[in-house]
Structures are given as C-alpha cells and as structure tokens.
C-alpha cells in the first residue's frame, strides 16, 4: 500500500478498505430507517404546469376584479363629465359686469366737488 505512488490513477484497495472502515458510521440500519421515514412523508409534487395553474387561478380572479374596478371607474367618470356641462345662468351675466373700469372716478368727483 505505502509503496504505491500517490499519483496512481488506480484505486488502492487496501487504503480504500481502511478509509471505508473509518467512514462506517454507527447504526446504519437506524439511519436508513430514519431517512426512510422522512422520505415517506414527502409531499406529492405536481408538474411545473400544475404549479403555474395554481398560481394562475388567483391571478385570473385578481384580473377580473381589476377589470371590474376599471370599468366602474370609467362609467363613473363619464357620468361625472356629463354632470359637469356648464349650466345656463338664470340672470344675465352681462348685467352684473361693471360698465366702467375702476372705482376711482366717483371718489375723484367727490374730491373735486368739495373745492
């Protein structure tokens, strides 16, 4: 064993047996039993498409809710726009407008009359 070169590409059975002996753990049957119990409790997995389909269902519901909301919003906006058309005033707006610009002239007259 020790006269072999470490460069050997062949397996060294004698060294291998010693190494394997060092790597033999306690209670191998118990280990397999425990691992088997874990593996027996693995959840069943579906395919990738099943996973995507599972994700898609809530997605479709969310899209439908969003579409309904948008539609309702659009209808409401249209209704508001209709209400917002300018109303015809009951009194002629032109009559309320001042005919002269500025209010300084009457004050000026009052001052001048006093002189």
């Amino acid at each position: 064993m020790t006269d072999r070169s470490p460069f050997d590409a062949e397996r060294d059975p004698e060294l291998g047996e010693l190494v394997r002996g060092a790597f033999t753990g306690p209670d191998p049957a118990g280990f397999e039993l425990r691992l088997g119990a874990t593996l027996a409790r693995l959840p069943e997995r579906g395919s990738q498409w099943d996973v995507l389909a599972a994700w898609a269902r809530p997605g479709v519901v969310a899209a439908a809710v969003a579409a309904g909301f948008l539609l309702g919003f659009a209808v409401w906006q249209a209704w508001r726009a209709r209400l917002a058309t300018p109303a015809v005033p009951s009194v002629a707006v032109a009559m309320l407008q001042p005919t002269t610009r500025g209010g300084e002239q009457p004050i000026m007259y009052a001052v001048l009359e006093g002189r």
Partner: protein, 185 residues
Amino acid sequence: MRSTGVSESQWAAAANKGDADAYGRLVLAHATVARRIAYGVLGDWDEADDVVQDGALAGWQAIERYDPARAFRPWFLRIVANAALDQLRRRRVRDADSLDESIPSRQAGPDLATERVLMRSRIDEALASLPERQRVAVMLFDGEGYSHAEIAAVLGVPEGTVRSYVFHARRALRRALAALVEEPA
C-alpha cells in the same frame, strides 16, 4: 440501486415528474455514500445524519431542476456535500474555532493494542487532519471507487483539483501508516 427491474434512469425520470416514491428509492440507494460524504466534511455522525436528511428534502424541493438524462447520484451527492459544507461554515461561524479544533480527533486509547485497531486509529487521525474536501475525495476515490470526474461533479470542482485532493490525501494517509510501521513495538 435495489434490483426491481426498473433502472435508475427510469426512477430518476419518475422522480423528476414528482413521484415521491421513486425519489425515495433513489435517495435510499445512495444514502450510505451521502452519509459518508457528510461525515467526511463534518466529522460528526449525528450532524452528518441531519445533513443527509436536509439534503434529501432540499433535493426533493429542487427535483424539477434535475435533468433526468444525467446521473442522479452525483446530482444528489452534490446537494448533500453542499449542505454539509454550509453546515460546516455555520458551525465555524458559531464556534469561531479552527477546523482542527472543531472536528473531534479520536485518539487511540492505550488499551487498543492490536495492529488493526491501531492502524484504524492512525487512519482516523490522519483523516481528521485533512481538509474536508481532500477527505471526501479520497473516501470516494479509494473507498467507493468513484472516478475523478464523478467526484468533481459531486464537489463542484475541476477534475484536476480532485486529482490534487486525492494525491495530497493519499500522501498524508500513507505517511501516517508508514510511521506506524516504523515505530518500535
């Protein structure tokens, strides 16, 4: 793999499609080697057993990413090796100790008189002194008969690196055994 008339590749294809039973069979077929790899990294059988369990669950979570056209064994063993290396990193951070201190070095007691037991003890000490990847590489190469290429796939390193690991590990082990032969009785 247990002889059931179904090849490993067929089990692997079934596992890839979500067959838990097929996956379980595959894992159990390679569980002993997986346990040795985990022990090779961690140097503790209890931790090694936990890591194999975790690796089996992680493999199941990732089974869709496994290519059934390729061998299952290196894929699964790599998951376990990575899980063990992660666990080792966590332990090092936790303990802030060196590897030599963290891996229990089993000293041979004075009552172990037979040559076989002494040799085993010396091998254990030599293995414990090796870096974990060298330990796993020599165990898989000389102990399990894996090819360099397969060990490279398991450890996720180039094949040349595996050759280097095996070389250094063998040299250390042989030195330890040669020293045993040269020691006066």
